[in-house]
Amino acid sequence: MLVLEKVDAHYGKSHVLHGVSIEVRSGEVVGLLGRNGVGKTTTLKTIMGMARRTGGRITFEGRDLHGVPPHGLAGLGIAWVPEERRIFRLLTVLENLRTGLDRAGMTPERREALLEKVYTYFPILKERRNQAGGTLSGGEQQMLAIARAMMLEPKIILLDEPTEGLMPRMVAQIQEIVHALHRDGVAILLVEQNVPLTLDAAGRVYIMEKGAVRHHASSAELRADQRVIHEYLGV
């Protein structure tokens, strides 16, 4: 469904992605692992049109994303949950959700239903719905960021390090949510540094280093033989 073919990207002069080829099929959870600075976030940003793609192709459901304006991706079914979460801090929780909820073709009934569904996933957001986004704790903001993406009823969510900086209890909650989204049929490209969570949630994993994909295997294989993990993610 989402295919990156030999993608190169530059930030100014810096050549940050080298021939990256990644595929996420419909309904799949695919992991993207690697240490800091290897280009995982850059890969997501290139899909979202934020880094300059200088080589290769990115297609979604067969359609080349070249020339699609950044605000057109949501309409195609691609949602993004960035590493820094990027909650609209001065908007309330509900208003944050409305940025995705108020789309063309959304009837009041569908909106209510979607909102209720998200509130069942994240009851704390219902409680805090009239609070400003900036007053939420880190874990709550992460949940809001994911809920906001769900408002777009996406086909795929680009999920960037959702567990970074969170307490173990929240990490477990995020894991639950990823499972639930998967059950719902949403595809996820999961960028993470948390290896066990990724191996548990994803069926396949790509491992990156220095801007390129260096390894690609099923999580079962990686679980069975941890040497590769240690080589690319350890010290």
Binding site: M50, A74, A79, F88, L91, T99, D102
Partner: protein, 286 residues
Amino acid sequence: MDQILVQTLHGLVNGMVLAMVASGLTLIFGIMDIVNFAHGDLLMLGAFVGASVLGVTGNYWLALLGAALVIAALGAVLQVTTLRPLIGRDPLTTILATFGISLVIQKYALWQWGPSVRRISEPVPGDFTLFHLQYPWYRIATAVLAGLILGGLWLFLKYGKYGIWIRATTQDRVMAQAMGIPVPLVYTAVFAIGSAMAAASGVLFGPFAGVTQTMGFDFTLRAFIVVVVGGMGNLGGSILASIFVSLLESYAAIVVSPAQAVIVSFVVLVLTMLFRPTGLFVPTPK
């Protein structure tokens, strides 16, 4: 004593009109970082259009509405043709662009309407008696009208679907795009809204001092001062600052001549920059 009361009224009324002008300016700056040097000229053009519509229809309200709509459309066209291509470039280029627009508008107005002063007659006739003084009703009406328009703007931004789009885009343009919000369109809409506010202010202010090509300049200057004092991009702050500065100026006019009272606004500006550079009405940044 009645002097103070009259000056208070003056200050409030002028403050409300200034608030309308400043809101448009701060909205535009807050969302797209554009310092709109043509803002006062849009006000002036709005006043002239309003005067023309009034001349044809004899109806003040049509004049107000007509001016706002025409200038909103003009603002949208200007943004798309001259400012959108400059997005992402050095901010100096947009400053030069708006400055250029300002000059063009001024000369156009001169060419179109000639150098004589136009009149916009008061929408509400008569004065009311305040102690021994007569105070024109229309000035109060202007302040009330400005208040209603600002209130409407606030409601729109707070509760409207597009209001949320505007606020989200102002806070984080990139994330707004990722949520499917058509940011280029939002930019154009905000510029149009800001222009409409300026035009409406021009028509509202018309009865006060007549409509001339240079009426915009005074407002531009004061609006910039007030936007900085209120906190750049802070809508509530610029409204409060407008009233605050206008009141101070009015009170100063009791002691010195009105022409000299203008100094007050500059003094407030300098003090703000020295002691609270993020704005007087902005909560202290942590």
